[in-house]
């Protein structure tokens, strides 16, 4: 989980700076997405803690998790539910009305404000691949698979599976471009 949070910090620091402790603290205080991710990674670490030596620390850990996640939920309305499995390197562009629950997100994804990635009323949640850029106000609701490297444009409402490396747009979402390389908007050059 520490590696996952370090990967998140790398997304925010722009890959060109070496990550020092001072830079990590400065970024965490400035970016709401990092505060949300701090709570989420802590919660996931606590959930998956198996080593008996950590059991004494668990109550304090859960208290810290509840403080951070409630603050982020009330102040910025970012809800990264612990039922979601988010890969390292998530970048949350803006705050506000973000719901990620019961889904699988790959590594190095980007989400923006008003994005809902959650299951419908009943059923499984979405499975999103790596390096997916999800634009503002997009809705991925239901058991859909989003392929690796695809781009979900702003406002898109996904209602079926999305192929890899494609660009989807519209409500309902249609694939309008195949083989769309989104590395420039993700900010990852390697």
């Amino acid at each position: 989980m520490i590696d996952a949070f370090l990967a998140d910090l790398q997304r925010y620091s722009g890959h060109s700076h070496t990550l020092t402790c001072a830079l990590a603290v400065k970024l965490s205080m400035g970016y709401h997405g990092l505060q949300a991710l701090l709570g989420y990674r802590l919660g996931r670490a606590l959930l998956l803690a198996r080593d008996w030596r950590f059991w004494l620390l668990l109550p304090f850990g859960w208290l810290l998790y509840f403080l951070i996640s409630r603050y982020v939920r009330i102040a910025f309305d970012i809800r990264l539910d612990l039922s979601a499995d988010i890969g390292p390197g998530l970048y949350i562009g803006h705050f506000g009305n973000i719901r990620v629950a019961n889904c699988t997100l790959g590594t190095h994804c980007s989400i923006a404000q008003s994005v809902h990635i959650r299951p419908a009323a009943t059923g499984a949640g979405p499975i999103v691949g790596d390096r997916v850029w999800i634009g503002a106000h997009a809705q991925i609701i239901g058991p859909h698979r989003i392929g690796t490297g695809s781009t979900i444009s702003a406002g898109a409402v996904i209602q079926k599976d999305v192929p890899e490396h494609s660009l989807s747009l519209g409500n309902p979402a249609r694939v309008i471009l195949r083989n769309y390389d989104n590395r420039s908007i993700l900010g990852i050059t390697k």
């Binding site: 506000g96 009305n97 008003s114 106000h137």
Partner: protein, 215 residues
């Protein structure tokens, strides 16, 4: 400093909100105070006006000047309050010329360059750069525009005066004056619509009334 015009501007904003809360009534001192207490959008607008004035006055960093530090302090507190209370973020150099309605429910992310007078912006609206469209720039909103909730307006586009953006639209191209735009991707649905009735209250419509037959 700039207190006089600023206070007048804030008073005009309170009148605008008071008239929107109760359409058709005159804005008295009491109704303005009630509007100020009850409208989170008005708090957001006031915070932004203060930040805008202080940002334009203290553009050059001058660490020795107390005025600069006070301006930065107020800006920082204001931005945090806007984020937490109204869940909104407005860029400091966005210029709201004249009266504008910002949403009481919040969730406004505004990167527009300029917003004209008499415009109503509802909640969950994003004004941003366009990214996947290979055109980057900030939108310019004209006067007397009605923007419904859940809209995205992105790119170097201009929204003409008197236009109407129906809820849930995703806009990347410029909108001619008095046009009605709807959909994702957005299309002009009607060419000539007078949105004065829409702009006189806080009601939200999702479809336009049928066009009146001309004699």
């Amino acid at each position: 400093m700039m207190a006089g015009p600023l206070v007048q501007r804030l008073s005009d904003d309170c009148s605008f909100y008071a008239q929107l809360r109760r359409p058709g009534s005159k804005a008295t001192g009491r109704s303005k105070l009630l509007a100020l207490l009850y409208s989170r959008g008005l708090w957001l607008l006031l915070i932004h006006r203060v930040a805008h004035v202080s940002a334009s006055n203290t553009a050059k960093p001058n660490l020795r000047s107390l005025k600069w530090w006070v301006a930065r302090l107020f800006e920082g507190i204001g931005k945090y309050l806007a984020t937490v209370c109204c869940k909104s973020e407005i860029l400091e150099d966005c210029d709201f010329t004249g009266n504008v309605y910002l949403p009481n429910s919040g969730y406004l992310i505004c990167g527009a360059r300029k917003v004209g007078p008499g415009t109503l912006i509802h909640d969950h609206v994003t004004f941003g750069h366009a990214v996947a469209n290979s055109k980057e720039g900030r939108p310019t909103i004209g006067a007397n525009v009605w923007i419904g909730p859940d809209s995205i307006i992105a790119g170097p586009l201009t929204i003409g005066d008197g236009a109407t953006i129906l809820p849930g639209s995703y806009l990347t191209n410029s909108v001619p004056p008095r046009a009605v735009v709807k959909g994702n991707p957005a299309r002009v649905v009607r060419g000539n619509f007078d949105n004065t009735a829409l702009r006189s209250s806080l009601a939200v419509v999702h479809e336009l009334p049928a066009p009146a037959s001309h004699d």
